[in-house]
């Protein structure tokens, strides 16, 4: 799976009809450069087709609509650093979670806690995956905001996607959206391409799990599936 790195989306180049280069920059406070070769040009086509002019403000708005430059964006960047980490493996103790426990909810909780997007819960009792998945559950806010339920079907970087399922040993699964457009941008299906990172039995890794939960293409039928976003 070839993930496009939104970390490089801060600088955005568009060629005008006369061949001149228009360069815009997303000011999100993070240094970096954008590799146009790694970017799916269909996204530019989308920008033209939808009358997104080549001004910084409009591109900012466009990218922000994907979750760039937001708290979720930074959350996604942070989450990606954990790829391959085994600290949250089933057979390892992690903080207040003992050995032989599922820790997908612990991983999400710890990242939200680091970002101050969730209140500190009693020791050993962070929200379970099923609680994130239940839209009625109020995930308590941190100093930087709250993970509120998204109801318009959109998916942004840093969103928490949780699904409930009746496994005997777990209430469901929860991950964080860490990549957009893993297979290239499809303007007709803008929200259908994203990757999520979560704690699995052996390690943390990005996958299409969140996408599959949301779209009903996972091995089991998660219900309900809820998307939450930093607010």
């Amino acid at each position: 799976m070839n993930f496009i790195d939104p970390d490089g989306m801060r600088k955005f180049c568009v060629t005008n009809d006369d061949g001149s280069i228009v360069e815009t920059e997303i000011d999100d406070g993070v240094d970096g450069s954008f590799d146009i070769a790694a970017f799916d040009l269909s996204m530019l086509q989308y920008a033209y087709d939808n009358d997104i002019s080549e001004t910084k403000t409009d591109y900012e708005a466009f990218f922000n609509s994907l979750g760039l430059g937001t708290q979720g964006y930074y959350l996604a960047l942070e989450v990606r650093k954990w790829d391959g980490n085994t600290e949250y493996a089933y057979d390892k103790k992690k903080g207040d979670f003992p050995k032989n426990t599922n820790k997908c909810n612990k991983f999400v909780y710890d990242r939200l806690l680091d970002a101050d997007l969730i209140e500190k819960y009693p020791i050993g009792c962070p929200p379970q995956a099923g609680a994130y998945a239940d839209p009625q559950t109020n995930i308590k806010a941190g100093k930087n905001g709250q993970m509120s339920v998204v109801s318009d079907g959109s998916v942004h970087l840093g969103d928490v996607i949780a699904g409930k399922f009746g496994w005997r040993d777990a209430s469901g699964h929860v991950e964080i959206v860490s990549y957009l457009f893993p297979n290239g941008y499809d303007p007709k299906n803008a929200t259908n391409y994203f990757g999520t990172t979560g704690a699995h039995r052996d390690s943390i890794f990005p996958s299409s799990k969140g996408y599959d939960m949301l779209n009903g293409t996972a091995n089991v039928k998660f219900n309900p599936v809820t998307t939450r976003r930093a607010k």
Binding site: T101, N102, G130
Partner: protein
């Protein structure tokens, strides 16, 4: 004419069968379990210290069995286990064993009881523990439902309070006495 009628009826029956097959509901909950006697202890009691500290132990079958291993006391403690195999978290398949542990008085009436999933791995474990103090005499073939299990923890924030969850974790079934159960 009779042949035509027979053919029409035959086709109708086939359609009916196909329709039944297509609309057959997949059960939301597992079939009833049989809980077989695992072992029993005379002059015993629950080790409440360990049960109350269930969230401080590791997960897994042996660890959970340890938590519910009785200590010395004045009653009888009987443990029953159900056996299954199926899907678990993250698309794994594993053994599925539920432990039903009952403290009985000398006449066989329930004084206290717990029901837990031995391979439980959602944490904290206490959130998924069920308890009963229903004064009922345990007999061979009795339904677990009659024990009226409820959540061990009583916080409304617990998943256990979720009706769907509670029903699923009840894992109701029938208690089966076994003559060869270990007596300790």
């Amino acid at each position: 004419m009779i042949i035509i009628m027979r053919n029409i009826i035959g086709v109708f029956m086939l359609l009916l069968l196909a329709s039944c097959a297509l609309t057959k509901k997949v059960p939301s909950y597992p079939p009833r379990y049989d809980y077989y006697s695992y072992d029993s202890y005379d002059n015993a009691d629950f080790d409440y210290g360990r049960i109350y500290a269930i969230d401080s132990v590791d997960g897994g079958k042996s660890s959970m069995l340890d938590v519910f291993t009785p200590t010395k006391g004045d009653n009888k403690v009987v443990r029953y286990i159900s056996y299954d195999y199926g899907p678990t978290f993250d698309d794994y398949r594993d053994s599925i064993n539920f432990l039903l542990v009952l403290k009985l008085d000398l006449e066989g009436y329930v004084l206290d009881g717990f029901l837990c999933y031995l391979q439980t791995s959602d944490y904290p474990f206490s959130s998924f523990l069920l308890r009963t103090n229903k004064r009922i005499k345990v007999k061979d073939g009795i339904s677990v439902k009659k024990l009226e299990f409820d959540c061990y923890r009583n916080s409304i924030s617990d998943d256990c309070r979720d009706i769907d969850f509670l029903q699923r974790r009840m894992n109701l079934g029938i208690i089966r006495f076994q003559k060869n159960a270990k007596s300790r």
